[in-house]
């Protein structure tokens, strides 16, 4: 659907300074020139340098933004909106007021509500010698061979070891001196990861620090520069893969395991890295965490799963499943499709296409990270636009696997 065009009068207004904007107290508002703009189809993505996030504006919000940027007074904005969309002026007035109020507390706020603290990765280059409390005796230390590198993992609490070590159970030991040393410590604010003596990440939660550690190990060993990271699984064939973003317990691990059992390459069940230059996804060598609810589906396919130890994780019973295949090579795959999966007991195994705005909204729900600079965001959005995206709800994991294989084979599902 085409977005409405601005009238000639409004276009003329674009010559006005944005600082002559519609609000009477511009000193309390970030101006439109303080944000990065990315026009995508009929909607708009905005980003502020100081907020690690993307503001998604639908078509009508984009229209209002353009009028604000052109410096129109609010009465004119209302009139233009009502005229362009042929809606009741009272409705237009209400929607404009609500939109501007929302922007004042967020998008255009000098100190936005969602101001993000420096990212863990962003602070990665700060050289910090671990303070004394971080130098206590390690509960766990071992050298693993990952991506051809010797990687020493040092974990300082039993809690960290319980969360992290099961993921490494299929990874061979490294006999040589370490190429990289990763040390995870607990401090009063949560957890920190050090690579050598550099603090490369800080997270509050145990699950988050585990996921970031695994990402950082693969990124470091392969020398990758990440454009984006998804909370997602991925499987592939040949040089292609399908990415399954989804929130916890949506079925991405189960589907990834079944696809792996059917001969596809396993890339990840939890974190997917998108490499900046190649836009490829590297395979992760770590074990899949299978919750009790999926044991019945997966045990007949993986006979060793039944004999795997049962661990308690955050009150849930889980087992770990080593990935099949040659996980020690540096395999990468280009993304054929993004598929938001959801297992539902009575679902009809349906797949439907998503547009770019819907995809961004779904990624926001499942969790993602994008390098926060104008060029990276543009590259990410261009990649997203060019990658087919779908929503798949399934009750039959074999049928879901067949659909994914069709996507890998190049099928475009309308």
């Amino acid at each position: 659907m085409a977005a409405p065009a601005l009238s000639a009068a409004t276009k003329a207004g674009q010559e006005f300074s944005p600082r002559m904007g519609i609000e009477s107290s511009p000193e309390n508002l970030a101006t439109p020139q303080d944000v990065w703009e990315f026009e995508i189809e009929d909607f708009l993505v905005l980003a502020r340098p100081d907020v690690h996030g993307l503001y998604l504006l639908n078509s009508s919000a984009r229209f209002i933004w353009q009028l604000v940027k052109a410096g129109l007074p609010s009465a004119e904005v209302v009139r233009e909106l009502a005229s362009a969309y042929h809606i009741d002026p009272d409705v237009a007035a209400r929607h404009v007021r609500q939109t501007l109020d929302g922007w004042r507390s967020g998008l255009r706020s000098v100190q936005p509500e969602a101001t993000v603290q420096p990212e863990s990765a962003a602070s990665a280059d700060v050289r910090v010698e671990p303070p004394a409390f971080q130098k206590k005796a390690a509960r766990f230390s071992h050298n693993y061979l990952i991506e051809g590198k010797s990687v020493q993992i040092i974990l300082e609490t039993a809690e960290l070891a319980e969360e992290i070590i099961p993921r490494f159970e299929s990874i061979p030991s490294a006999p040589s001196a370490p190429d990289f040393v990763f040390r995870v410590v607990e401090d009063p604010d949560g957890f920190r990861i050090f690579c050598g003596d550099r603090c490369i990440a800080r997270e509050e939660g145990l699950g988050a620090i585990r996921a970031v550690l695994l990402q950082e190990i693969v990124r470091t060993c392969r020398g990758l520069d990440c454009l984006a990271i998804f909370h997602a699984g991925a499987c592939g064939s040949g040089s292609r893969c399908v990415v399954f973003p989804g929130n916890t317990q949506c079925g991405k691990t189960t589907l990834s395991a079944v696809l792996m059992q059917k001969g596809l390459t396993f890339y990840s069940d939890d974190s997917v890295l998108l490499e900046r230059d190649t836009l490829a996804v590297p395979a992760m060598p770590f074990s899949l965490m299978v919750r009790e609810g999926s044991w019945g589906i997966l045990s007949p396919r993986f006979p060793n799963l039944e004999s795997a130890p049962i661990l308690s994780r955050f009150g849930q019973r889980v087992r770990f499943l080593p990935p099949l295949g040659t996980q020690q090579d540096s395999r990468s795959g280009l993304v054929s499709a993004i598929v938001f999966v959801r297992f539902e007991r009575d679902a009809a195994n349906e797949i439907s296409s998503l547009d770019t705005l819907q995809t961004l909204l779904r990624l926001q729900e499942s969790g993602f990270w994008v390098a926060h600079d104008r060029q990276s965001i543009r590259r990410f959005l261009e990649w997203l636009q060019s990658t087919p995206s779908y929503s798949l709800s399934y009750s039959d994991v074999d049928r879901a696997a067949s659909i994914v294989r069709e996507l890998l084979a190049g099928s475009v599902i309308e």
Partner: protein
Amino acid sequence: MDSKADNNLKSAQAPGTQENATPDNETQGRREVVLKLGKFAAYAAPFTMLALTKKADAATGGGPRPLGRH
């Protein structure tokens, strides 16, 4: 909707809209069609959503953070 407006709507929705609907006065005609396109675009209430792009969310999941969704 009268027949003229109906025709304009059909023209506006067809591929190559502006060329197909250009009347004698080309400049004026193009402008009218552009405005028609605007008037007949489906209206959805404006919304702005902040999708946080944080490592922690990429690790363990995100969540809705509506800003001015109506």
